[in-house]
Amino acid sequence: MSKRVGVEVSIAVADAVALARAEVIPAYPITPQTHIVEHLSEIVANGHLDAEFIPVESEHAAMSCACGSSAAGARTFTATSSQGLSLMSEILYHPGPMRLPIVMVVANRALAAPISIWNDHQDIMVQRDIGWIQTFAENGQEAVDLLLHAFRVAEDRRVALPFIVNIDGFTLSHVIEPIIMPDQEEVDRYIPPFKPHYKLDPRKPVSMGPVGIPEVYTEERMAHNEALKASKRVILQGWKEFAEIFGRQYNPVEVYRTEDAETLLVTMGSISETAMTAVDEMRNAGKKVGLVRIRLWRPFPGPEFRKAIGKAKTLAVIDRCLPPGAVCGPVGAELRSLLYRVPGAPKIFSFVAGLGGRDVTVDRFKEIVDKAELYAKKRPVELYEVIGVREK
């Protein structure tokens, strides 16, 4: 029987990895991800999970080990954050085209310099194009559920792609929340054993990771891209099955009070909970404001997003990343491209907020909405604005 428990989200995430019966877990500590792998090593040490926990010497090695173990046919999980994710960077590009369904949790954190252990989305945004499926969790329950979904989808033979579930560092990873932990029998029904198309096995030798000469490289990269795009069907199916077994429904894009809304906040991750409170207060004050939350970031759910924004006139996009010298924040830029030349498309502004653990309060969201509405009338010089900068 599934049961509701009050638990730190990192612990629940680790328990979910055990429920998913991960087999190899190469891991390296980094705040704020550490509780996940600490708890996993404990679960393995206590014999509650039959797995190999590899305490590697770096995150680059963690991802390298993960490639090896996934290629050898084992269900593979790891978790990291920030500097660790950056150190992995070179290897993050391999499991996609090599079709290795590694599942990873990233506890999102700022990037140095200056070094910061606190939350934003810069670590994952600079890894945007690694070719993994990527989702963002809003709360603890969702972190657990999206993780189970990640195993279900990544290893599906129609997909065979790596999968990242993003959870906000500290604001999600370290909070204690009531979470319904599914029971083992349900999870086993949801996630079948891992049966890859190919694996490293002397009984049936294959060569993996060969040289891509110019005659094949484009096709290889394109095949990966097509697979990533096509995975959306299975991602949706995975959520449908999830609802059938566990009773909780997820969609690529969620909406909150968007009916008749003229201005929409667009968010990703746990910040959305504060945004909802802000929307409620603004609605009470008679403002036609709603919220659109992107849960599936890669492959980007274009049609779902277009449907979600309805006839809104203005989008106030929250970017938790400041790409120096760029035209706009990454989420803002994505949505501008998506909606460019779409008849009746809303005006889009990117608000860089919540960097390095800076709180984004209800009042900040109100300020953002006000500014977006103002800029919709009078085009600003820049397409983005950094919110909440201290003057002294």
């Binding site: 190999e52 290897i91 490293l200 002397p202 060569s207």
Partner: protein, 311 residues
């Protein structure tokens, strides 16, 4: 003696395996001593093996998709991380065998890389894998430079050698540092088996690889690998050069079994290093002063090694 090696039966000229886990028809240069060494490694290991290859000449020449020279399972991820990939493969097989998902039968896991992949960029990854004690063997194919990228110096490039990043000039005589002692670094991990080998002594090479595979836990074999393209040597002389390097004491053959150094071949009547140096254009610019230094240092290093083996 370690228990795993008690049942060791060596290869001889009569029982050499005919099978080629690494097929011919790959794209290595003519006379490549590195691919020859790799072929011997694979003959020694047979087909019950999984190969994790670092980026470098051997990876490139054996795998241009859709062709492959590999008759055994093979994976390449990146330059520095073959030992980590091997760690992952080993861990996966352990848990899958325990769960009854694959046969319990032992499969050797080979991580293989060049001197650059091993002694320079990949040192941390190998050290991690050695320290954690994964059951695998690591083979370094040492052609004494980054050949795949066009003959740049590495930590294993010998003193005085000309490479594209250690060119001799009015202010330089080529590589200014002595060759890094990578086998000693590996032995310092306290692993059960470390050895050096040369393809000129092919039975010795194959036996060492076989022992490294039989040992439980990590093992390391460092193989001298002539590269005619990078060294400016004649392709047909690769084996001769691989013998001269041993006869001049420049590259001694030994094992370190459970911490004990054992000379595989004591050189009692060494040839002068000049005989070795003059076979390769990379040493052509060296003056008497440098050659004398090389001779003295080679003698001294060899003495140190002998002392270790007498301990």
């Amino acid at each position: 003696m370690i228990p795993e090696l008690e049942k060791f039966v060596g290869f001889s000229a009569k029982n050499l395996p005919k099978d080629e886990p690494l097929a011919s028809g790959h794209r290595a240069c003519q006379g490549c001593g590195e691919v020859l060494a790799l072929r011997m490694v694979m003959k020694a290991l047979g087909r019950d093996v999984i190969v994790c290859n670092a980026t470098g000449c051997m990876e490139i020449v054996t795998s241009p998709f859709p062709q492959t020279a590999w008759n055994v399972p093979w994976i390449h991820i990146a330059f520095e991380n073959a030992a980590s990939v091997a760690s992952g493969v080993e861990a996966a097989r352990k848990v899958l065998a325990r769960k009854g998902k694959i046969p319990k039968k032992h499969v050797d896991i080979l991580a293989v890389g060049g001197d650059g992949a091993t002694g320079d960029i990949g040192l941390q990854w190998i050290s991690g894998a050695m320290e954690r004690g994964h059951d695998f063997l690591y083979v370094c194919l040492d052609n004494e430079a980054y050949m795949n990228t066009g003959v740049q110096r590495s930590g294993c490039t010998p003193y005085g050698a000309m490479t594209t990043t250690s060119p001799p000039g009015s202010q330089s005589f080529g590589q200014v540092t002595w060759k890094k002692n990578v086998p000693a670094i590996m032995a310092a991990h306290g692993i059960k088996y470390v050895a050096t080998a040369s393809p000129a002594y092919y039975l010795d090479l194959m036996n060492k690889v076989k022992k490294a595979a039989m040992v439980k836990g990590p093992a390391y074999v460092h193989i001298y690998s002539p590269c005619p393209t990078g060294w400016g040597s004649a392709g047909e002389r690769s084996i001769e050069i691989a013998r001269l390097v041993v006869e001049t004491k420049v590259f001694p053959l030994y094992e370190v079994i459970d911490g004990k150094y054992i000379m595989s071949r004591k050189i009692t009547k060494p040839k002068p290093v000049t005989e070795y140096l003059k076979t390769q254009r990379r040493f052509r610019h060296l003056k008497e002063e440098q050659i004398n230094y090389i001779q003295a240092r080679v003698d001294a290093e060899y003495e140190k090694l002998l002392k270790l083996s007498e301990m």
